[in-house]
């Protein structure tokens, strides 16, 4: 499968790669031989129907679950603790501690081993970015859905990741909250953070993405530049999806 970003004349070495990535559970092949190169500074969008394996792929790439076959490489080496520490992830439903907004930020920085002095700087920067300055001492769980997701994004960015995974971060948000999240992502991307974004929103994919991987039944159905894939999809799965045609949900193949 052609790696996204391959159009560049002299592609930089991949920041994160998947080689023959497979994952099966319950006798089903949920991820089936995925090869991907994520190049530094790019924003890769992952699209596909529900159950195509998008969230699962993100978790495999981030090392939250282990593949049943294949491997994930961070800068050419097997993903280890250092590689994990250079990444961060924001989930579709933000997971916030039962603490104040400020305490949520401090916890993330403390467990990442950031020095006290540096913590104060990053905390202030995260607060400025999130525009949650008036709510710092409020319990994080009483914030609105948009504010909670904003906190989750700035918390992840406060860890200074080289690579940020976003799993449908705006799926449950209104346009205003979506705009605020996209602004944060755009700014982070502009400052050099590599992004992997799962979304169902083609508009968002065009606004934020450089490369696009379209998954179907746990496999890469199509990959390339966002505009190329969205404007002229080659695979039937991507074409049907983008044309809004109804088609039966793909069933994961039985485990080989």
């Amino acid at each position: 499968m052609a790696a996204p970003g391959a159009e560049a004349a002299a592609p930089s070495p991949a920041l994160l790669s998947a080689r023959g990535l497979c994952f099966d559970a319950g006798g089903k092949q949920l991820i089936d031989g995925i090869d991907i190169d994520i190049r530094p500074g790019r924003c890769m969008v992952v699209m596909g129907a529900n159950g195509a394996g998008k969230s699962l792929l993100l978790r495999l790439l981030h090392g939250l679950i282990h593949p049943t076959a294949g491997e994930v490489l961070w800068q050419g080496r097997p993903l280890d603790r250092d590689g994990r520490y250079a990444q961060a992830m924001v989930f579709q439903r933000p997971v916030l501690l039962r603490r104040s907004v400020r305490a949520n930020l401090r916890f993330a920085l403390a467990v990442r081993g950031v020095s006290r002095q540096e913590r104060a700087v990053r905390e202030a920067e995260a607060i400025r970015r999130s525009r949650l300055g008036d709510l710092l001492n409020r319990p994080a769980r009483v914030l609105s859905g948009g504010e909670q997701q904003r906190l989750a994004v700035v918390r992840a960015l406060a860890c200074a990741p080289g690579l940020l995974f976003l799993d449908e971060p705006t799926a449950n948000l209104d346009p205003g909250s979506t705009h605020a999240i996209e602004q944060l992502v755009t700014k982070a991307h502009g400052s050099g953070v590599t992004i992997v974004l799962v979304t169902h929103d083609t508009g968002q994919a065009r606004r934020l993405g450089d490369d696009l991987v379209f998954l179907h039944g746990g496999r890469v159905a199509e990959a390339g530049c966002v505009s190329t894939v969205l404007d002229a999809p080659r695979s039937e799965a991507a074409r049907a999806w983008l044309e809004g045609r109804l088609y039966p949900a793909p069933q994961p193949a039985p485990k080989a």
């Binding site: 978790r59 981030h62 090392g63 939250l64 603790r81 994990r84 520490y85 990444q87 961060a88 992830m89 989930f91 997971v95 501690l97 039962r98 603490r99 916890f107 993330a108 403390a110 467990v111 990442r112 319990p139 994080a140 769980r141 009483v142 860890c159």
Partner: protein
Amino acid sequence: MESVWRIFAEAVGLILDWDSDLIEIIGLSLRVTLAAVAVSCAIGLPLGATVGAFRFPGRTAIIVLLNALMGLPPVVVGLIAYMMLSAAGPLGPLELLYTPAAMMIAQTILVTPIVAALSRQVVEDYYCEYAEQFASLGVGPFDRVTALLRDARYSLLTVALAGFGRAVAEVGAVIIVGGNINHATRVMTTAIALETSKGNLELALALGVVLLAIAVAVNGAAMTLRASAVRMAYA
């Protein structure tokens, strides 16, 4: 029926008169029970949190054991503690038998499995919710346990309360290792048993009323605290 009301009135009178024997017994009961609950929480909360937050070989066996130990018969615990603390036992040289310390040890043995088993369940529920975020942040084992204990603190208060309830109402173990010695190891439950057998129902009932009042007050305080925590989205 009239005599029941008379006994009840005399019991209330004893409480209102601040009877010195009554106060001494209540004071010792609370000291022993609170010390036992404190030690049980110090052992049981980290133990329960560790079992709840980690997967390791033998974990299921530990959970089964903790759950089984929740139903320990107090007289059996009293007997084991007695054998340990008696002159011929391994802890005999400490000369703790028939002292409040012995009663505290017996109550600790009874309450620790309750605290550990219930906190395991609470922490496991919290961890299910936090697991991926913690893995993503790279939270280490120590931070994982302390963070879960901190975030589950209001639920764990109920766990400590369950331990307190078990300890303060317990009679079988403390009477074996404490001996129910007047002005030394007499607590509310052992005094109630003794005074009832002597026919001194006024004191027995007064102690019973105090015991109930303590249980209601502690439960009420815990529920109020937890309700406010839920309102503030901290629980």
